[in-house]
Symmetry: none
Subunit: 280 residues, 2 copies
């Protein structure tokens, strides 16, 4: 359907600085990247990131399909990992079609949109929307590392969506709430439902990742893992619990302090206790 108002130059349209970032993880087909870019621009999303696109980047097939939405592709950046693609963001939604056995919040596109707008309004936070490869979807560890699962509730007898359509539905739900969102919705938001000592906002993802790295290192040093075979499961459970609490900036600092203190180092890096046991 032709419907663009050509008097408006889309490349100059100022995007909402708190609009969510779309992150395509290992996308296979350039056509789908182009379709995702179109769906984004339809709904006022401008920032697309790619993690390990199968056919490299830039991809001419993406440009063909993006007709009119090339501005999104021009600004697209490529990252080597999900962690690097999401480091500066505050809350990550992993889009999944299948059920995943993870103790993690599962939200609809509408609820995700409310959370994204709530976080932006209350804390100036930016969120990320992760979409997996066409054939397989996201790997479980990638879903586990996200803050919440975004599930599009479709006809269970026929839930197959292509990548461009999935991006379109999620983006549309965000766009649609621009004017219709009641003012009081922020009070329903989980981040606003409790009193915070410091009034600060959710931590950036890279800060959370640094905390997890710190904790994992100290657990390894403390020989916490019963075996290498059990380690991934234990770690995933722990990460799932820690992310569920959606730590704020001040809490991440506090937790660094806890890990540092318990593991016997002072904040200045000097060892508090005695040498590690043999084998360390």
């Amino acid at each position: 359907m032709a419907g663009t108002d050509r008097s408006q130059d889309s490349s100059r349209t100022p995007g909402d600085p708190f609009a969510p970032v779309v992150i395509l993880v290992r996308p296979q087909l350039g056509q789908n990247i182009g379709a995702a870019a179109r769906a984004m621009l339809n709904c006022g999303l401008y920032e697309l990131r790619l993690v390990q696109p199968r056919d490299g980047w830039p991809n001419p097939k993406a440009r063909i399909l993006a007709s009119g939405a090339e501005s999104v592709l021009d600004d697209t950046r490529v990252y080597p990992s999900v962690a690097e693609a999401t480091g500066d963001l505050h809350r990550i939604f992993a889009t999944t079609a299948r059920r995943r056995d993870l103790a993690k919040p599962v939200v609809t596109p509408e609820e995700a949109a409310r959370e994204i707008r709530g976080l932006a309004g209350a804390h100036g936070a930016r969120c990320g929307l992760l979409f997996g490869p066409e054939r397989t979807g996201l790997h479980s560890p990638e879903v586990a590392a996200a803050d919440a699962i975004l599930h599009i509730p479709l006809n269970p007898a026929y839930a197959s969506l292509n990548l461009g359509q999935a991006v379109l539905l999620v983006a549309y739900c965000w766009w649609d709430q621009a004017s219709a969102t009641p003012n009081q919705y922020v009070h329903e938001h989980p981040f606003n439902d409790y009193v915070n000592d410091t009034g600060d906002g959710p931590a950036r993802r890279e800060a959370v990742d640094a905390l997890l790295t710190h904790l994992e290192r100290e657990l390894t040093a403390a020989r916490f893992w019963k075996s290498e075979a059990k380690r991934p499961v234990l770690w995933r459970s722990l990460v799932t619990y820690l992310l569920r609490g959606a730590p704020r900036e001040s809490e991440v600092s506090l937790l660094h302090g806890v890990v540092t203190a318990l593991s016997g180092r002072r904040a200045d890096g000097r060892l508090r206790g005695a040498p590690r046991p043999k084998g360390k």
Copy 2:
């Protein structure tokens, strides 16, 4: 994204008898008819009607694109005019991308969905959703003959949607209003609506308290509190964060293990490291 539950036979799924009918007027490309059929089935719509399809009917290209949604195409009927295609319906929404100078109600997909469900519930009425040809959209007389204009509010700087996407957005808005899916599983029903790695439930409060006591004791032993004056504030922040994640039984055990390991004791209670520094 693969997500269909193959245990459910979509061809036998009983549709909502008051679901709206999708009517494609003079569709040009078979591929788009197939894409529309998929989008319909995604969202629980089963009845597709065609008015003067350019390439005749049936159309093999539609079947290729409809993969999995052939049941919709099998039941598709062809009509010579919009009037004949809509004669048995009660209210007709004409989807348009461009503004039309017609003194006619203009509704969003959400409002159309509410009206369609309201008419079905109150009067057993069935509605029709008209979509025009890809290139030009509906003729003005066709729009004028409809009861209301359905306008999808997209980014005015880039409002171009293909036919399949337009059907998807409108159908999803209808489907979504019946969906039994709560917007957010975890926060509204913290312990019942999502699956957990271990299948266990929330920890009893006394177990959580024991964990907190364990942690507080080890933090004190590690001289974590900067001062007694700051201690209550730090501890309250930490407890707030830890409780927010609503730990389960298995997670409480895991966290005991983490505290024990980091603080230098094995699970059997023996000291792993060396004596505490002076003053402990």
